[in-house]
């Protein structure tokens, strides 16, 4: 799959799907990120709370998302990430960027990347970093 950078324009926007996964209900950060990405010119769908990995992937297909962004704040990232990656593989979404956010110990970042996550943005990340990363790495 060619990795040419997307030319954002009036007609081509980056579409991001942000979601909470599992029972965790901390959505302050997820909602803030949605607004910041909107202000950076992206189109953001917020799936909300209590989604299972399959729900996230189904929505990503239905919305033709370029980026999937699950948010974890209760330590459940190691449990749900492999399930998300598996669902993405099953659905053939290898060209979709997978970016994880939330409360993630630095030790777990290499683990998540090995599982298939493209980048991790822990709490306290500055907006600029997230936006620049997505802009430079979206694949489709």
């Amino acid at each position: 799959m060619s990795k040419s950078k997307i030319q954002e324009s009036k007609n081509r926007k980056i579409k991001v799907l942000v979601s909470k996964v599992g029972l965790d209900g901390h959505e302050r950060g997820a909602k803030v990120v949605c607004n910041l990405l909107k202000e950076a010119g992206m189109e953001v769908v917020y799936l909300g709370l209590y989604q299972m990995p399959k729900d996230v992937i189904d929505a990503a297909i239905d919305e033709d998302a370029d980026v999937i962004g699950p948010s974890f704040l209760s330590g459940e990232h190691l449990v749900y990430t492999p399930l998300i990656v598996e669902e993405m593989k099953k659905a053939g979404l290898d060209d979709v960027l997978l970016v994880v956010g939330g409360v993630i110990p630095p030790e777990d970042i290499p683990t998540l990347k090995k599982m298939g996550v493209d980048e991790v943005f822990s709490a306290g990340s500055l907006t600029e970093r997230i936006v620049t990363y997505i802009r430079n790495n979206v694949r489709r």
Partner: protein, 325 residues
């Protein structure tokens, strides 16, 4: 999807393949040429599918109402396709597509397909994408298609003209907005819903609405716009809305009403498309020739007036086509 050929893509969409449909809508949003090609293949004549429009200002409770409508329709065994449009920021071009969140309860129902879109509305008829997306939904085989838009711009009014039954949602606190909305959207709605009907000011709002509706010219088809109070958060009033929708649908389909109705829609959409096409062809023709720039400079310099300029460009185009032919 660009490797796939147009017929296959069209066939997938007709078979209710969501990925194919989602990508087609993306291609439509990006104004890719292939989108037009596929749309040609999948176009469904007006009336085959029930198409509803839901519009109103932000905060009126549109998404909540749509979610209730979906529940009611699903109970009747109907499958539903939804285009949920949210406004793009005029400053940043980005959008927060949050309608889907209000319809979360239907997320796992395979009989409901929700596709969020940003209006990307700057100047001039960019509601084209929404209308094209509506056609995609019609082709997929859903029983009912719902298009939800924010009813404040000209674009949304254009969309409203192209759905079959347009539902306008207002709330009791929108007093002055009703006056402002009079021009445009009020003329287009077939059903007026007063949501959040448990708020103070309900009676006055219903009165204002009825007065405003009576002021609009009587529609040729003799349909009187009903006002239905609802409380979308509890589902109160929804069954009345569904009844009114069914009534309107029956109304436009009775006798040869559907043919007349389809003609009107074809006229609206067809004329716009034909006009767009003419414009596109002409501009394609003069692109790169510097003609447009030359004439604009002449207008600015006072050497020619814009009316004459337009006529000259047109004759030049006709002459050129004759020569090329």
């Amino acid at each position: 999807m660009s490797d796939i050929n147009v017929e296959e893509w069209a066939q997938k969409v007709r078979e209710n393949d969501r990925r194919a449909a989602a990508k087609l809508i993306s291609a439509i949003e990006r104004k890719e040429k292939i989108a037009r090609a596929v749309l040609k293949h999948i176009y469904v004549p007006v009336g085959k599918v029930v198409v509803l429009g839901v519009t109103g200002s932000a905060g009126a409770g549109k998404s909540c109402l749509v979610s209730c409508l979906i529940s009611a329709l699903r109970k009747k065994g109907k499958t539903v396709g939804v285009i949920a449009v949210d406004p793009s920021s005029p400053f940043t071009g980005g959008a927060f597509l949050g309608d889907r969140l209000r319809m979360q309860v239907h997320g796992r129902d395979k009989g409901v397909y929700i596709r969020s879109m940003a209006s990307r509305g700057y100047l001039g008829g960019l509601a084209r994408s929404t209308v094209d997306a509506m056609h995609v939904m019609e082709a997929m085989g859903h029983d009912v298609v719902i298009v939800e838009t924010v009813g404040t711009g000209q674009d949304e009014i254009d969309v409203a003209r192209l759905v079959q039954t347009c539902i306008l949602i207002l709330t009791p606190t929108m007093g002055d907005d009703i006056q402002a909305m009079k021009a445009g959207i009020m003329e287009v709605a077939q059903i007026a819903v007063l949501n959040k009907a448990d708020m103070p000011g309900k009676e006055k709002a219903i009165l204002d609405l009825e007065v405003a509706l009576r002021m609009r010219p009587v529609t040729e088809d003799g349909w009187a716009v009903p006002v239905v109070p609802t409380i979308a958060t509890t589902g109160k009033g929804i069954s009345e809305v569904v009844d009114r929708i069914e009534e309107h649908q029956a109304h436009i389909r009775k006798d040869d009403g559907l043919k007349k109705f389809a003609f009107q829609k074809a006229e609206k959409e067809g004329s716009v498309l034909i006009k767009d096409e003419i414009e596109r062809v002409i501009f394609d023709h003069i692109r790169g020739t510097g003609l447009r720039r030359r004439y604009l400079d002449m207008i600015v310099a006072g050497k020619i007036d814009p009316y004459t300029a337009a006529e000259e460009v047109m004759s030049l185009f006709i002459k050129k086509s004759k020569n090329d032919a």
